[in-house]
Symmetry: C2
Subunit: 171 residues, 2 copies
């Protein structure tokens, strides 16, 4: 992974000692422990907001659930999409979100909507009590202090790649 042994030990020790001097680490229990730290043993319910091709692709992705991240609903505003089925989920209208939240625990909202709706929808869902956003919209969301945002900015990543390609620089 391009990481030094020093860094590995340094990082592990932030969370406590997991190894046995002289013998090394027990891979099985270390793996388990890291999973605990990351909270992989608890199930997180996620909703997808924006049922475009990216939103649909994420809904179909199977790897997330294996790590405890479960998609429980998909929302959009386009009437032609409402009712359509993606995997086992019918696309719901965003207007039904407040009602949905009353009856379901939602831990994370995945934002895969067009750029121009980004701020508006982010404000809407945080007002409804969403505390974590996985943001695929290429903008910096301004959210209340207690809301956690994790960004996936695809175009930024691609531009970094383009820059490195132009300047022939690795990573």
């Amino acid at each position: 992974m391009g990481i030094t042994s020093s860094q590995v030990r340094q990082d592990f020790s932030s969370f406590g000692g997991y190894g046995l001097q002289r013998y090394g680490y027990d891979v099985e229990s270390l793996h388990q422990e890291i999973g605990n730290i990351l909270g992989l043993n608890t199930i997180r319910n996620m909703i997808i907001i924006g049922a475009g091709s990216l939103g649909q692709a994420l809904a179909k992705h199977k790897e997330f659930e294996k790590k405890g991240f479960k998609v429980i609903a998909i929302f959009d505003v386009k009437t032609e999409l409402i009712g359509q089925k993606i995997t086992e989920h019918e696309i719901r209208h965003l207007d039904s979100l407040p009602h949905f939240l009353e009856n379901n625990q939602v831990d994370i909202a995945i934002l895969t909507i067009p750029e121009n709706f980004g701020r508006e929808v982010a404000a809407y869902i945080t007002e409804l009590g969403i505390k974590a956003i996985w943001n695929f919209v290429p903008i910096e969301l301004k959210t209340p202090d207690d809301v956690i945002v994790e960004n996936i900015h695809l175009i930024d990543s691609l531009m970094v790649l383009g820059y490195n390609l132009k300047h022939k620089r690795r990573e």
Copy 2:
């Protein structure tokens, strides 16, 4: 964007001076200049390897081309996918890649294949002369020194979000 004015000036000055003291920056020409640095005015031809839902979603994404990143072909190995149309592109068999490369300039390969094929396919395409990989496979690719890799590790990002959520920490 949560960046200090110091950092902005520091970063700009790495590439030269673009501002006028006392007056500030001319946004239009600065924007143009940053585009030049990132190479946004040159067109990059990209191919998608792996026509699953994620690969298809990226093919349909319109924002990349606006920044000069153009998808010119999609490859897979699943026979039932070959010939199927995604936007204007027919899905081609990966075996036809060498022939395709003889007749087309490819700057970037987008890897959206299952994890277990990651290393094998990366080795295959770098051997064929691909110099840049936008890697969506959740592994660290080992590639020759002159190959540029930019990773999008979705599950890592999601786990970071999960961690921050558990420990109630912002960004």
